[in-house]
Amino acid sequence: MENLKALSFELRKNVVDMVVEGGGGHIGGDMSVMDILTELYFDQMNISPENMHSPNRDYLVMSKGHSVEALYAVLARKGFFPVGEVIHSFSKFGSQYIGHPNNKLPGIEMNSGSLGHGLSVCAGMALAGKMDGRKNRVYTVMGDGELAEGSIWEAAMAAHHHKLDNLCAVIDRNRLQISGDTENVMAQDSQEERWSAFGWHTIPVNGHDYRELNEAFREAGNYTGAPTVIIANTIKGYGSAVMENKPEWHHRVPTTDEYRQIVRDLEERKEAALHE
């Protein structure tokens, strides 16, 4: 198997380049969610440019749509579009590479960006799969700040009610949102208890540990009778000390010096991952 940890740091470098070239981007959340997406797209999901129109493909909706740069990097590496094209045109006038998911692009199933939409849509996709007797799986990735959206809990209720065990939600629990610590903005601890109370199978993991992520997704795939939520504990800005756990990196463009340091850090982490 490819060294996904090492790959993730290359993809993070793509993200940093997109943000610098595009003059903006939600870089902190891109960094925290990258391992979740890398594990999903390179180890779990049955999705590729070859089967992107097959009804039997696995589906993912990026509910935390502001982390679209991470999704672009992963989709580009999967061959959906050239990464250089994204880096050079991201956020530019007339570009399809918008700052939130745009389903006119190959590989992106649904538009998102306004928070709290993905879980409902995925519940519908999972229901369709059940109706047609398909074996495919449906994934959504939500932010922890996003969990304050009431629509998520409407969907959580319905997904349990309809026994959508082909649905797996992932929470990128990086504990920071634009105004600061989630616990100060709107307390989000006790996620396990909350989702369990809604009837979901819950699995907490270290969202940067590929062994834990792999096991969690496999467990979710084998769980029957209820949907699964994986609470991925992550670090916002993961990959460089310049950004890690600093709320100001929710949406920010690195300075030239910061850029150099971030790239050095990502390269070091990649090397370390290759020698783990």
């Binding site: 009804p55 589906y59 909706v61 389903n103 199933e109 649904m110 538009n111 998102s112 960006g113 306004s114 709290g116 939409h117 879980l119 409902s120 849509v121 995925c122 519940a123 519908g124 996709m125 999972a126 229901l127 369709a128 799969g129 109706m131 047609d132 009431g150 629509s151 409407e154 969907a155 209720m157 319905a158 009610h161 309809h162």
Partner: protein, 309 residues
């Protein structure tokens, strides 16, 4: 007097079509009764999805179903469907271009006495200002059935508003000309033109007869397609008459009157009178009483036309 409300006509078509099309799915938000969808739920339980009282989720789930090849019809009171789930309509249906048909039932002031929370006098404005969303207000049960059959043939989102109560037939089993996105010309006179939609078409037809007895001849257009508006039909009516009157069960802002006035103002300046609900809390009563109070009936229309000729 017809006893079949337009919402029931929708259910009848869906039951008929679902017999051979397993992809048709009806979704309700504890609204199967108010949407007249109980027979569908009973006959096709595998193609019926209950989401509980959760309109945002109703529309989001419908979008997900559509993305995976289903033909979802999300039916809920127009008031809640058009505003509570507005963002899901915008992002998950229109912007994502999913084949979701939104059925707003008990629209306008159908729930007259239940008050403003239950009135939908903003739905045309809200829905039509979303790119890639079509808006339809059919006038009777025959046209409603034709519309639903036509919409089953395409794969794009649409919003359809129908009222709660049966309305008198405009058309018949034998005579119901229908072309998607083309208004129906119901009367052709040179003195004035009335452009109406939904439940206001019937009073327009009645007013035409009343005026005819007095030697006044008016054009009546059944503009069931609010978006895309049949601009040609409006301009054609404007070319033949000096006075245009729009009539709708909607706020005076952003609805049929606003659309027609916008078009006429730029293309064929004429006097346009907009008959609509007031920009104020609507008086309590049955929808018939409410219409009468605001002059949104045949008598009211006759008065407006005679005053302005």
């Amino acid at each position: 007097m017809n006893k079949i409300p337009n919402r029931q006509a929708i259910c009848d078509v869906l039951i008929e079509k679902a017999k051979t099309d397993k992809d048709i799915v009806v979704l309700c938000s504890d609204s199967r009764g108010s949407s007249s969808m109980t027979p569908f739920a009973q006959e096709f339980p595998e193609q019926f999805v209950e989401v509980g009282i959760a309109e945002q989720n109703l529309v989001g789930i419908a979008a997900g179903l559509a993305k995976c090849g289903k033909k979802p019809f999300a039916a809920s009171p127009a008031s809640f469907l058009s505003t509570r789930s507005y963002e899901q309509v915008k992002v998950d249906c229109a912007y994502s271009n999913t084949n979701v048909k939104l059925i707003g039932v008990s629209g306008g002031v159908s729930y007259g006495a239940l008050g403003m929370s239950h009135h939908s006098a903003q739905d045309i404005a809200a829905m039509s200002s979303v790119p890639n969303m079509r808006v339809y207000l059919p006038s009777d049960r025959f046209q409603t059935a034709k519309l639903i059959k036509a919409l089953l043939e395409d794969d794009k989102p649409a919003y359809i508003r129908v009222g709660r109560n049966p309305v008198e037939d405009i058309y018949s089993e034998e005579f119901c000309p229908f072309e998607l996105n083309k208004a129906n010309l119901l009367a052709k006179g040179e003195d004035a033109a009335v452009i109406a939609c939904g439940e206001m078409v019937r009073p327009a037809v009645d007013a035409a007869k009343m005026l005819e007895a007095e030697g006044i001849y008016i054009t009546v257009l059944d503009m069931y397609c609010l978006k895309p508006l049949d601009r040609e039909a409006v301009l054609e009516a404007a070319a033949r008459t000096k006075l245009l009157v729009t009539m709708e069960e909607h706020s005076p802002f952003g609805g049929l009157g606003a659309m027609v006035s916008q078009l006429i103002g730029s293309r064929a300046p004429r006097k346009v009178i907009n008959m609509a609900l007031p920009d104020a809390p609507v008086i309590t009563g049955t929808s018939g009483e409410v219409f009468e109070h605001y002059g949104l009936n045949a008598n009211g229309l006759v008065i407006v036309i005679k005053e302005n000729l």
